[in-house]
């Protein structure tokens, strides 16, 4: 189990390989990568603010909850903060299980909780505006699945 909050970029493929290599006994690895989308071609950059004292703790709590629900062999969360350009990778999650069902469910769960319960906030900056991304009801509703 590993949680990293960092300003710099990461290499999702290298992280996936390292994670897979270390996940001894795993039959199934699921990874998720989140990428900055330039919705209408106007995005200059995204700013991600976070709450340093709380972030690591919150992510570890979400991971612990996933591991209590599914028989995971290992899990990984990486989340960036600071300034990100369009097409840059924001974060990734990986889960290793014996079987595919638990690896999929745990990764999906981690993403849902991370989205609405980890203290990150996104601001989209264009040449004309700088707007905080609003939370979506659909993200809050997604938590009810679990």
């Amino acid at each position: 189990m590993s949680v990293r909050v960092q300003e710099g970029g990461f290499d999702a493929g290298a992280e996936l390989n390292r994670f897979t290599e270390a996940a001894s006994g795993a039959g199934a690895i699921v990874s998720f990568t989140g990428i900055v989308r330039d919705l209408d071609g106007s995005l200059d950059h995204m700013m991600i603010e976070h709450y340093p004292g709380m972030t690591q703790k919150a992510l570890e709590g979400i991971e612990a909850e996933a591991r209590a629900r599914w028989n995971l062999i290992d899990s990984l969360v990486i989340h960036r903060h600071g300034t990100l350009a369009p097409d840059e990778q924001i974060m990734m999650v990986a889960c290793a299980g014996k079987h595919r069902a638990e690896a999929f469910a745990a990764a999906d769960f981690l993403m849902d909780y991370l989205k609405s319960r980890a203290p990150f906030w996104k601001k989209e900056v264009t040449s004309k505006s700088a707007d905080w991304v609003e939370s979506k009801q659909s993200d809050e509703d997604a938590l009810k699945r679990w």
Partner: protein, 81 residues
């Protein structure tokens, strides 16, 4: 106690963190005290349904007690991932 603000709450209040001497018993009482101080606080706290609160770095609600608490943070709903 330390009071922290994030995202647009930080922008409206105009600072990321301040030291507050208070005898408020709950988060809600602290919000009432701050709101009474200045317009910028009143603006930030105008709609509590749009705010989230963490007490000592754990998500909490506005009825959470403040006895022994070192740090309270106010922010909008999270939008990570």
């Amino acid at each position: 106690m330390d009071v922290l603000y994030f995202a647009w709450v930080r922008e409206r209040i105009g600072l990321p963190k301040e030291r507050v001497e208070t005898s408020a018993a709950t988060v809600a009482e602290l919000v009432a005290e701050l709101t009474a101080r200045e317009e910028r606080y009143a603006l930030a706290f105008a709609d509590l349904s749009a705010l989230r609160v963490a007490v000592d770095q754990e998500l909490a609600d506005f009825e959470a007690p403040l006895a022994g608490v070192k740090e309270v943070a106010f922010f909008p709903p999270m939008t990570g991932g």
